[in-house]
């Protein structure tokens, strides 16, 4: 009998050993689906480079794929996209302003939309130079055009979301007589919208190779303060007054103005 035909010592003839654990593929445990690497460089994915076409495309990209907007803002021909973002911001602000104006009616039907749109755009313009300087100080490689585009994107997203809140705001504006309550509601909507807008801006800022976000955080505080003060500087936006804009003697810090509104509301 040949040694080749005999089983190894200690093993019965006809026995087939179980495969070793290494040979058995491990059971598939359902886990979280792999997500794209968040810090992959901008433009490294083909979907980043997909052109953004038409108004619907811009709005869709702002809401669903901000990376595409960030990528396009970095390109040489970003001017048209930026102009479109500014137009979207102005148009949506006018629509939301109209809803704000329906609370008081009359003059406010045209004054409130103009004030809301102008206030937001002026706030962005006032804060843009400091954002660019802060981005440079943070080591960012973003050009002024790109930083301007990020600001336009912030305003566009903010006003788009305000547009989404507009029907809700209109329902409440027809139901209540309280300026303070409506003011608080608009402020809450603005805060939510600004949060998402600033998230878009922050993501774009980080993609310009900024080493630190300290400057951006300071700028965000400045932008929020300017925007809030704008509501007081351009008052009345919600209620009514004798004049379209406050007189020189009525200039106030926004917190003291809000306090006075709350006080008046309590007395009524």
């Amino acid at each position: 009998m040949s040694d080749y035909n005999s089983p190894p010592p200690g093993q019965l003839p006809g026995y087939t050993p179980n495969p070793t654990p290494a040979q058995v593929p491990p059971p598939i445990i359902p886990g979280p689906t792999p997500r794209p690497v968040p810090d992959a460089s901008l433009g490294s994915r083909p979907e980043d480079r997909a052109p953004i076409l038409g108004w619907a495309g811009i709005i869709d990209a702002l809401l669903r794929e901000p990376r595409r907007v960030h990528y396009q803002l970095r390109q040489a021909n970003a001017g048209r996209l930026i102009a479109a973002l500014v137009f979207i911001a102005a148009a949506c602000a006018l629509v939301y302003g109209l809803v704000v104006g329906t609370f008081s009616g009359g003059t406010q039907l045209w004054a409130a939309p103009l004030k809301v749109a102008a206030g937001l755009l002026i706030s962005g313009a006032i804060c843009l130079p400091s954002l660019y300087i802060f981005s440079c100080l943070s080591g960012s490689s973003g050009r002024l055009v790109e930083v301007g585009g990020l600001t336009a994107g912030l305003l566009a997203l903010l006003t788009l979301l305000l547009g989404g809140f507009a029907p809700v705001a209109w329902v409440f504006s027809q139901s209540t007589q309280s300026v303070a309550a409506m003011g608080a509601l608009h402020l809450a909507f603005w805060a939510v919208a600004a949060g998402f807008g600033l998230r878009f801006l922050r993501a774009g800022f980080l993609r310009t190779n900024a080493r630190s976000t300290a400057g951006l955080n300071v700028w965000i505080v400045v932008f929020l303060l300017v925007s809030l003060q704008m509501t007081t500087a351009l008052r009345p936006i919600l209620g009514t007054a004798d004049t379209l804009l406050p007189k020189s003697s009525e200039k106030q810090f926004f917190l003291s103005h809000w306090w006075q509104c709350l006080d008046a509301s309590n007395h009524n």
């Binding site: 313009a125 400091s130 300087i133 960012s140 020189s248 200039k251 810090f253």
Partner: protein, 240 residues
């Protein structure tokens, strides 16, 4: 051989703001009058715009005066301390020549001027929201105090950032963080000391509502800058 960076390229200020030590070191090695001129132009533009915003609260005439005087404070401080700063650097372990020290200080002031220039729309917004000087005494006083504090706050922020931005460069040049901080603090102390006095002499910048608009005050050598800020703070905090 690496070509020298163009000396009069306005875009180089963004690289200056980013504080890239390698590039800045190269610029310091290749000293040029064109670069100094560029920084001077940025200081005139940035600080001038900020000065105009400060003076706008009092009126257009004051805006023009302050737009002229504010950059003058920076330039006079840099030039007045140039000799001292040029001597302090090697004494504290940083082997820089006189012209190189002056260039580094000009770089710092250019950063400060760029920051101030970018803040000028914000300051104009504050001016727009502050009671004007032609109102009742109480409102005017509060407005004046607020403008003083806002201006000092903006300048302090720009000054701190501009100096902190120099630390990596000084560290690269001096080879040690300790040397960088020593030199920076020495320059900062000297510039603050002279700069505050020059600004006091060249007052008014905001323009006191109780006095007529003028390029220089009638008694430029009376009082001091720090006394004025202290009194403004005291007045603002103790108002009922």
């Amino acid at each position: 051989m690496k070509p020298a960076a163009p000396t009069f390229d306005p875009g180089q200020v963004s690289a200056l703001l980013r504080g890239e030590p390698g590039l800045l070191q190269d610029w310091i090695r290749h000293w040029s009058a064109g670069r100094m001129f560029l920084y001077g132009a940025y200081i005139l533009l940035g600080a001038g715009t900020f000065g105009a915003a400060i003076g706008a609260w009092r009126g257009p005439e004051q805006a023009v005066y302050t737009a002229l005087k504010f950059p003058l404070v920076i330039l006079l401080t840099s030039l007045g301390n140039a000799l001292l700063n040029g001597m302090l650097a090697p004494l504290l372990g940083l082997n820089l020549g006189f012209r190189q020290s002056l260039l580094v200080i000009f770089m710092s002031f250019t950063i400060a001027a760029a920051i101030l220039g970018s803040f000028s729309p914000l300051l104009l917004f504050i001016v727009w929201n502050t009671p004007p000087p032609n109102l009742s005494a109480h409102s005017v006083s509060l407005g004046y105090d607020f403008m003083q504090l806002a201006t000092v706050g903006f300048i302090a922020f720009a000054g701190v950032v501009a100096n902190v931005r120099l630390v990596p460069l000084l560290q690269t040049l001096g080879g040690s963080r300790a040397i960088a901080y020593k030199v920076l603090l020495a320059w900062l102390a000297g510039n603050l000391f002279l700069g505050s006095q020059i600004s006091w002499i060249l007052r008014p910048f905001i323009g006191n509502p109780r006095t007529p608009i003028e390029f220089l005050s009638q008694h430029p050598w009376e009082g001091s800058f720090y006394e004025s800020v202290f009194h403004a703070l005291q007045h603002l905090l103790t108002q009922p």
